[in-house]
Symmetry: C2
Subunit: 224 residues, 2 copies
DNA sequence: AAGCAAATTTAAGTATACTTAAATTATTTG
DNA sequence: CAAATAATTTAAGTATACTTAAATTTGCTT
């Protein structure tokens, strides 16, 4: 019924739709999944036939309830594996995402529940992504904004890195930027929307491309 | 280069050849892998072309050095996963083998090494199967014989259950027969080669089919 | 609103891993 | 040792998931 390929399509459609709110284009999926646009068109029809998505010719895909259910389950498996590989097996950023990308597809309900229990039911993965429970429900999460949209001269706590790429995570750890760090947004350049942040005792410049991948919650103004 | 299907063929060929010493027949493989004999014949040629096995028409398969290397690596991955799932994640006999059968194919060298390290480099899996190291070397193992071939009126220690089937393992635990148990072989019936063993305070009859799957080492005669 | 470029689909073809049915080869047995 | 029987291969066909190239549709731009 659902193969590794199909699962990857469904997860990509779900997550892109969540992030961008609109129909997911063939071009986007082709890029993300490293296949031709023709392959996307093909698979789009198959997934629509099987009720995982709606696929309108020339206007892209949207997820259905059935597709969402599968996607949430995959997200759960992916994220629990990430926590496990990182916290228990001590793999590093370079390995964790890649491995989880494979393991998520071959993990039974019993196995993932055993991992969940072993980890004491974590609510967030190492990037700060929320982990759906068995029922597909996300943990309650306080309002977050990306650093790109947040206001200068305020203190924030980093609660999510919305990018799975290894390279970016390595860069962050080099800068001393890690999940749950406190951060002060000192300034923003009109010119290119880059931001200046104080973190781990240093001031760093971050491009807007990077800032939009860092999500934060506001901290009370510290009166010292 | 090597897919999940191919890996399962190679593992099956290696292990059957180890156990029975002769060419591995198409019929056997078809049964083991749940495919038609025609499929085995097809795949036999492919694997031979790629140098994993020798395949002579009408006389079955034998493993090559290259195939053996892959098979040992798979055995390592399979058995380490079994230990991990059983000892760390507390899955039971019903789940462990099935899960390992899938996970073995998608486990990178780095991940399996991390598991190996986490487990402190175990030498045997939960069935008592030896675990090859990174180099494909088996741990040194004392001489073992199956209960079927061992002598009556002697004490033994169980060191291996040479069967992955869930059903048999459940049966054993019901009888109080577990890995590393002491066992006394009290008698054997000529009629059907069934054996009588004293274990966990009880005397049990075991068919020869079962006895040949239990491997033991002899214990010094206890003089009490 | 016509023309154009970009996005997407259709068409035709490939590789993998199967299937069933027919043909072939090997082995057993009377 | 010749049938009969069992094992295996060959042949033809299927499903999945791709590819490239050609055709089509969409959404600008002027
Ligand atoms: Mn994946
Ligand atoms: Mn993540
Ligand atoms: Mn397997
Ligand atoms: Mn085992």
């Amino acid at each position: 019924m659902s193969t590794i390929s199909k699962e990857d399509y469904i997860k990509a459609i779900y997550t892109d739709q969540q992030r961008n709110g609109k129909n997911v284009s063939a071009t986007y999926l082709a890029g993300k999944l490293n296949v031709s646009k023709a392959a996307v068109s093909d698979m789009g029809k198959k997934l629509a036939n099987q009720g995982f998505i709606k696929y309108e010719a020339y206007r892209g895909a949207t997820i259905t309830k059935k597709g969402e259910k599968l996607a949430l389950n995959l997200l759960r498996r992916h994220r629990l594996w990430e926590v496990f590989l990182m916290d228990v097996l001590k793999l590093d950023w370079g390995e964790v995402h890649e491995e989880a990308e494979k393991l998520e597809h071959l993990t039974s309900e019993k196995l993932i529940d055993a991992i969940d229990k072993y980890l004491h039911y974590p609510k967030f993965d190492p990037h700060g992504h929320p982990i759906p429970n068995k029922l597909g429900e996300f943990p309650h999460t306080p309002a977050v904004v990306s650093l790109k949209e947040s206001q200068i001269k305020k203190k924030y706590r980093i609660v999510r890195f919305d990018d799975e790429s290894f390279e970016l995570m390595k860069y962050f750890s080099r800068l001393g930027i890690s999940l749950y760090s406190e951060i002060y947004l000192s300034d923003r350049l009109e010119f290119d929307d880059s931001v200046f942040v104080e973190v781990a005792g240093r001031t760093q410049a971050l491009s807007s491309k990077i800032a939009e991948r860092i999500f934060v919650t506001e901290l009370e103004a510290k009166d010292d």
